[in-house]
Structures are given as structure tokens and as C-alpha cells.
Subunit: 208 residues, 4 copies
DNA sequence: TATGAATGAGCTTTCATTCAT
DNA sequence: CATGAATGAAAGCTCATTCAT
């Protein structure tokens, strides 16, 4: 349900923006932000590089827009499930699996996105870095809601430090993605990771 | 047992190298690799910037040396404890606590190091990135030895995917450090993290 | 006596030209020719900047047209009085006063014009510069007619080098305007200048 | 009598600066500040253009340094004569002649300087413009001292508005130089101008 | 061994101008 | 006629690296 009717001209402009972002995603993730030149982006689209500056203030602005989009997608995934839904630990285990799976999907389908947020953006100017950290933090806060629900419903430990635990959960998730990115990992890794993680998180490594 | 007697001249040169690395650590971690200039490093030491090139091939070479040193320190910590030592889960819990503590120590004492390996180095050329990933991987392999010991001794789950689990453990550890770096976190955070982690890892979040 | 009846369509076009020139006057005098962009001019008129190119060949062409207009106005003022009119030195003094006053009026009413011809145009390509110099020269030639009349009528010195003197007169006039432009001069300055100039020119500074 | 012994190294650097300024004088006066590129300046000296940036912050900085030097030379000339020296109008007439002559000399010997201060600098950023105006103003203030001396000694009119008159004198002087620059003027012009000016200034154009 | 002057590749960015719509 | 998206030449500037001293 769109609120504004799609003006064709705005759409054209929007499409250009998208093209540029798409090309930038390619270039930045391949060569890295600093090595990449505006010319590379424009070159990929066979447009004059001046054109990029009609749609973005500068190179950094492109990255910002890119990061925004990626984080949006990330949060969308995390938000899809409802924190209150699970009533038993088994349901919860499934939720975890789902979210993990979706995230893996998201970043496996387009590893370029992961490269940007997990590697490039972290070494750049304070504002981008902060933006990503905020995004990750937000994701952790959402995760925390799940944990709190679990504690409330009684299937998670009462004394659980949900703040810490949510960050640990996030860390595992993202680390899995990071490792998955480093091409030298076999394709079954993701599957193993996804299967092992919920058990690890819920039951720990210790013998019962 | 040194194989070659320490020639004073080699020592002098070695000292210079150290100085430069120390200065580079400062500068790179503060301004970031790209923003930092060779001149900044030399400036800090009040030496001509040409001098840096007598001790290092180029700017990237300095970073490589820096990363080497940092990873060395990291592995040293992880190696300090012996994977075979623990015989009960309680001993193991203590080992984990120890290692975690030492790592926190290492990177809290000198957050510059963490900034370099966890942020800067990851956005640079493939060789540095790989080097860091290898370091982290090595750390995970070591961790895995502990886990295998645990499984063998029977205080960790028999079916534990030690490869995955070791990476998860690492992830939690490093995430803690990363979060700790983002200055806006209060000083008690480290303590909470360190206390919560072993339990999380061993018993998970689920209610027993 | 117009030769062609004013076609309404030509008038519309003419009006557009005028609008653009007016806007250009604003923009050029405010930001300077180089800092000003075609977009600024078009922006002021809320028209597409491509439109400017339907009325002018290029940016420089706009300046040329502007300078033409300004110089035209300048010469109009100088031409208003008739060089042959004065018969006594007192009449002449009044003529001078008048012309000076009108010029001050002209450029005080619209200092933007002065900024263009006296500052911007002089630092641009040879053709504009020459055009302005020619205009100033023409103004001096006119002034010279007055002087020649004065010599002929006997109220100016017989040996007066009218060529030089006319240029000196011009110089004083224009310098007054230039100084007046530099905002930090008080409003009474113009009055003092206008009053002092005729005496200076006619009687000099020396004691009689 | 130098206060500091001339360090050879400082001299070398100083020499480079001078070379660059000299080349810039050439280039700026020939092509105009905006048309001129740093590359042109460096090209003239057969040095890398980066070198210019070792000695000057940026392009504008070069112009500033240039203008400073020119204005210094200008003021030096004006300062050479002493305002209090003249006791009769004839002595004063000679002083005027001298100063005028020297200024003509200064700017005829190196018309490039005149082009910079009288044309280029006036169309540039506020700071340069102001600097030049200040220089010209300073020159007028000095001239005023001469006039005040003349009034005091009684060979200039008692009621003379010395402020205005000094500016008028300046104007004539500089206009002469400006006209002289426009190559199409014959070489005798300067001589005529210099001869006519003192009389004009002292006795005016009116018949006695 | 240490220096820092010199270098120039290479980047980002601007904006006058064109032209298809 | 009017538009403004697209263009790309052209410029300023930085800084890692070299090398004569």
C-alpha cells in the first residue's frame, strides 16, 4: 500500500540511485572503499563519473547510503520474528534457527553486503563506524527481547544477564557469517554452524 | 637459548624498529591506517620520515610488522595455559576465566592493538586480512584443543562439534573486547562479561 | 522611430534576456564571475539552467552582454550634458558637478554594476577587459570634448594636455566610485568627494 | 646589516620560494589567476607541481605572497621621500614628480606586478582584495602626509580636504599606470602623463 | 645511517555545456 | 521553447616513495 503514487520521473531518478548503489556495492566490496574510485563505479555502469555526484554528495555519501540499506535489511530480518511468540524452549530453538538461517541467507546471497558492514565500514570515519555499531547494537537489543521473553516464560535461566547474553548470541551469529565469507571455508560449514549454534547457546558445551 | 650473540649494532637497529612500530601503533590506531601518514609516525619520533624506509619497505610493511607483533602477543596469551591440564569442569571453567581475563587484560592495557587487528587490518589488502584471520583461526585451533581435552576427559558433551564451538568461544571473547573498545561502555561491563561468559559457554542459557 | 514593429514574441524573448541579465548582475557581483555558476543565475529565476543557453552562447557571453549594458548606461550619463554648453568656468563647474553626481547616482543606485565593470571584468579574458577599457576610454574622449570646449572658450588653460587631463578627470571620478563601493566608507564620503572634486580639478591644490 | 647569519639551507629554501613566486608572477599576469594552473608554474621551473605545495599552502597562498611582495615594493617607493621635506611649492612639485616617476619605473620595469594588483587581485576572494585596498589606502595615507605638510607650510590651500585630495592624487597616479599597461599606448605617454600631472594637481585645469 | 626536498601518480570534485525529451 | 540529466575535461591537492647529500 503505497502512500504516494509513483511518479515516473522520481522513479527514474530513484532507479539511477539504485544502479549506482549496486555498482558501488560491487566495487567497494571488491577493492575496498579506499582503493575503489568513483571512476570504477561509474565505469561499471558506463556512465560519466560526474553523474554519481548528481545523486550523491560524495564518495562517503555513497557508502553511507549503502550501509543504511544493508543495516535496514539486517534489521528487517531480525524483526521478522516476534520476540513474544515462543512459549517453550523448543519453539525458541526454532526461532533462533530461523533467524540465524535468514541472516545467513541474507549475507550469503550477497556476501558483498557483509564485506561492507563487517570489514570496510569498521575502518572508516567515525560516523560510518558508529552507524554500523548502532545497527549491530540494535540487533542485539532485539535479541535481548527474545531472551527476556525466555526468562519470563521460564525456559531460560532466571539469573541470565540478558544484555551480555544477547551480545554473545549476536557475536556468534556474526562470526559465523564472517567465517563463511572467508572463501576458504567449505559449503557445509554454514549448515554445521547453524545446527550447532542453538544447542551451544541453549545447553552450553558442558555435559549434562 | 639465543643462537646469535646480540650484536649491539643490530640491537640499535632493532630498537629503532621498535620505536617506529610503537609510534605507528599510536598513529594507526588513532587516525586509522589511511588517514595516518608516514610523516605522522616520523613526527612522533622526531626523526626524518625517510628514516622509516630504512627499517620498513613501505607503509603497509609497517602495518604487517605491527599485526605480526600483536598476533604474537595474542597467541602467547592463549598458549600460556595448557589444554591438557583440566580434569574437571570446574578446572576448565577456571581456565576459561583465566584466558578470557588475560585477553581482556592484553587489549584493555593497550586498546590500540585491538583497534588495529579488529578494525583497521580487516579493511586492508588481502594479505593483512588473511594474516589476521589466520591468527584468529590459530587461536580457535588452540581453543579447540581445550575442548577436545574436555570431551576426552568427559566433562564436555561427547557430540560437541569442537571446531564450531571453538570458533563460537572465540567470537564471544573477541566481541567482548570489541564492545569494550567502544568507549561508551561502562567499566563494569568487562567484569560482567567475564563472569557471564564461562557459564554461558558451559551451561548455555537454557534452564536446567 | 522604430524600424520594426515590436513583435510580441520577440518582446517575450527580450524580456527573458533581461531577466537573465538582471539575475546575472546579482550573482556575478555578489559571488564574482568565477565563483558564480550558471545554476545560480537560473536558480534565481526558477528556470532550468539549460534555458540560459537559449539566450546566450555561454557564461562569458552573459558577462559580455552585461558589460555592454552597463557601459551603455555609463555613456548615456556622460552624454546627457552637452560639451559645448558651458561658456564660463562657473557653468563648467556646474556641468562637472552634474556629471559627477549622475555617475555617483548611477553606481550608488546599483553598486552591482560598478563591481562588475571595475572589478570582475578587469580580471577576465582579454576581450571583456578591452571592452571595458574602451568604454572608459570613450568616456574620457567625451570628457575631452568638454575640456577642449573650455580651452576654446578660454576658461581652461591654453596649454592643457586635454587628452591626459580628461583621463585624470575620469580617474578621479571612478576612484571615487570605487572607494565608495568598499562598504567601510561612511555615507558622507560621496558628498565630500563630489564637492571637492570640481575645485581640485579646476583650481588644483596649490595656493593661489 | 643582517640580524641573523644567513643559513645556507634556509637560503636554499628561500630561493625556491622566490623562484616559485617569480614563475607565478609570470603565469598569473599572463593567463590570469584562474586560467593559470599550478602545473603552469611548476612547468616553467621544470619542477614537479607537488613541490609548489612544499612552499605554499595552496594556489591562493601563492597569490597572497605575491601581492604582499608587490605591495611592499609599492610602499617602499612611496616611503622613500620624506613628507616633511618640501618647504616651497616648487620643492613639492619635484617630490611629486619623483614619486610618480618611481612608481612608473616600478610598474613599467615589471608590468606583471601591476597586472596582478590592479586587475587580478581585485576580482578575487575578499581577503586578497582587502589586502590590496589596504595597500592602496596606506599609500593614500602617506600621500596625505605630504598634503598636510603642504597645507602647514602654506603652499597648499588651507581648506584642502587632504583625505579626499590624497585619494585623488593616488587615483591619477594609478590610472596612469593602468593606462600605460594597456599596450596600445605609445611610449611617450608616460612622459606626458608625468609632466602634466603635477601641474594638474597643483594648479588645476582652470585658467589663472 | 639519516635526512627531507622533490616527485608525480592518482584521487575527488566541480560545473559549463549539450541534447534528448 | 524549456528542461535538467548526463557528461567529462580539467583542476587542485595529497602523500608514499625515492635518492642525493
Amino acid at each position: 500500500m503505497r502512500t504516494t503514487p509513483p511518479s515516473p520521473i522520481a522513479n527514474r531518478a530513484e532507479a539511477r540511485r539504485e544502479q549506482i548503489l549496486e555498482a558501488a556495492l560491487d566495487v567497494f566490496s571488491e577493492k575496498g572503499y579506499h582503493e575503489a574510485g568513483i571512476a570504477d563505479i561509474a565505469g561499471k555502469l558506463n556512465i560519466g563519473h560526474g553523474t554519481c555526484y548528481r545523486y550523491f554528495k560524495n564518495k562517503l555519501d555513497i557508502l553511507h547510503a549503502l550501509v543504511d540499506r544493508i543495516l535496514l535489511g539486517l534489521l528487517e530480518v531480525v524483526r521478522k520474528e516476534s520476540p513474544e511468540k515462543s512459549n517453550t524452549i523448543e519453539e525458541y530453538r526454532n526461532q533462533i534457527k530461523n533467524i540465524g538461517w535468514e541472516l545467513f541467507q541474507l549475507f550469503s546471497k550477497d556476501p558483498r553486503q557483509a564485506k561492507i558492514v563487517f570489514f570496510e565500514a569498521m575502518a572508516l570515519d567515525e560516523t560510518v563506524k558508529r552507524k554500523v555499531q548502532l545497527g549491530i547494537d540494535k540487533s542485539a537489543r532485539l535479541t535481548e527481547l527474545y531472551l527476556k521473553n525466555g526468562v519470563k516464560k521460564g525456559f531460560l535461566r532466571k539469573e541470565l544477564d540478558t544484555r551480555i547474553a544477547s551480545q554473545a548470541v549476536n557475536a556468534m551469529m556474526f562470526e559465523g557469517i564472517r567465517i563463511n565469507l572467508s572463501s576458504k571455508v567449505d559449503s557445509k560449514f554454514a549448515k554445521r554452524w547453524l545446527e550447532e549454534m542453538p544447542t551451544l547457546m541453549l545447553e552450553g558445551m558442558g555435559k549434562r
